[in-house]
């Protein structure tokens, strides 16, 4: 199953106009965190917060809706959110922590929860993991190269970046520029090449843009904890949903992209194994489902 195990998948967006305006897609991550904070389901959330350097995020512990919103939007470079989880508990004293995680971050979190060798009194304080889909991530210098060199835009003027429809999109106040993904290819970090998870298969709820129209998100509800929060937020009217069957391009595209990502990664994994290089995952001959994230 290339989309992981899930209870439900829907098209959804936040009904809050402000969130719709600043969020990357349907504002699911920010909307759910704000709701969970208000309802006391979490005491705070680790998000990719802004820094003095444009588009260079740093993990931060958001304790209010304002802080959640200040961190909305996708930054296509590293924000080592898992690092901040310990501070969230030790320094901020949170008992119930939320966190947004790209698939590989959710893998670090889940491994720690199942095998907390050196990590004390943290595993059961992670109350809500919101996963976002991820095809690849870029070193900051790669991003700078696309924006300044390839697109020729001043980094500070960029208001939004996005990946979709085969292109890297750069929006400023008065123009929208695109770079074909063929040209960004080769700038992604190398570790992504063995990554077998596209749709954040281990999060409580995972979401991304692919599958739904602009301004909407595709949402997988996976665990019991995720189901509770998502259902409540929908019932409270903070999130509106549509059936995936009623939206375009729909689940088919997501399945195709997930299959492509996993197939490519398996090839690299097998090649690495043949060269004797380490990989934490099984080779295709060692597992039943060649595309499983194991």
């Amino acid at each position: 199953m290339v989309l992981g195990t899930y209870k439900e998948v829907v098209a959804a967006r936040s009904t809050d106009k402000q969130i719709q305006k600043i969020a990357q897609d349907g504002g699911i991550v920010s909307g759910l965190f704000c709701y969970a904070l208000d309802e006391g389901l979490i005491d705070g959330a680790v998000v990719a917060g802004p820094t003095d350097v444009m588009w260079k995020p740093e993990p931060m512990v958001a304790m209010s809706s304002d802080e959640i919103l200040a961190a909305a939007g996708t930054k296509y470079t590293f924000s080592p959110n898992v690092w901040m989880l310990k501070q969230a508990v030790r320094q901020y004293g949170l008992e119930k922590v939320g966190t947004v995680a790209i698939p590989c971050q959710s893998m670090g979190i889940r491994k720690m929860q199942s095998y907390p060798f050196g990590v004390r009194f943290l595993a059961d304080k992670i109350a809500l993991t919101l996963g976002i889909f991820c095809m690849e991530n870029f070193p900051y210098e790669s991003l700078r190269t696309f924006i300044s060199e390839k697109a020729g835009v001043d980094f500070d003027l960029v208001e939004k970046m996005d990946i979709g429809k085969g292109k890297f999109w750069i929006e400023t106040a008065d123009q929208t520029l695109t770079i074909p993904l063929k040209e960004t290819h080769g700038y992604e970090q190398n570790g992504c090449k063995v990554c077998l998870d596209y749709v954040c298969e281990l999060a409580d709820v995972s979401t991304g843009s692919v599958g739904t129209p602009d301004g909407w998100s595709t949402v997988f509800v996976r665990t019991d904890a995720g189901e509770t929060v998502f259902k409540q937020a929908v019932e409270a009217g903070l999130i509106e949903t549509k059936s995936m069957d009623d939206v375009k391009p729909g689940l088919g595209l997501l399945e195709k992209l997930a299959t492509d990502k996993k197939t490519k990664a398996m090839k690299v994994i097998d090649e690495r194994k043949a060269m004797g290089l380490p990989v934490p995952y099984k080779g295709s001959s060692e597992k039943e489902d060649p595309l499983a994230n194991i």
Binding site: P80, K111, G191, R222, P280, I294
Partner: protein
Amino acid sequence: MSILARIKSFLGMEAKPDEKASKEEVEKVAEEKAKPKIGYIHLSGCTGDGMSLTENYDILAPLLTEMVDIVYGQTLVDLWEMPEMDIALVEGSCCLQDEHSVKELMEVREKAGLVVAFGSCAATGCFTRYSRGGQQAQPNHESFVPIADLVKVDLSIPGCPPSPEIIAKTVVAVINGDMDYLAPMMDLAGYTEACGCDLQTKVVNQALCIGCGTCAMACQTRALSMTNGRPELNEDRCIKCGICYVQCPRSWWPADRIKQDLGL
């Protein structure tokens, strides 16, 4: 099969069980079903590992009284002669200049069914790796090694100290005979030379790092920070416990267990 028999046969420590179960054997199994006999052996460690065990307040009382039998251990049991044990938890590295430690460790291997390197000092040497001797009370005590350098170790539970949770999970797995859970700890028995620089040599250098920050979160001495999405080590703070690499999602990946734990 009793848990212990299962552990032993899994670890290849016992002859294959006889197909035909004689009455005698059934009795033997019934006898084996008794609470596992556990010994606590304290070599060159700080007692932090034992203290972490006791921090499992919820389960400590039933654990000690109903689930296991502590049969040996300084300050725990009034016994000089080391008895036969099912499981020996060894805390601390072994000082090669201390003949008593070396002798005790050898004896543990003989008397215990399973030898567990409990805590990073026993598992990787941890901060005792920095010892160079020349100090009171024994200036010639200078060489401290992980116990796997001297004896075969069956399971390793690194951590400085290991968290109360991993100790509880391990105990439960041992009692349930849950070998899948213990399998990574059997592999970790071979990870004896640890350092924060493993992240560079075994992850970043191998084109595997993805900047998740799990290593920096896990480091128990805050020797790690993240710079431009990669771990940066402050060597002066590193105690060579190995936890950063052990927790890294790119070192080993227990996918099935995680799915099971999440109900996925």
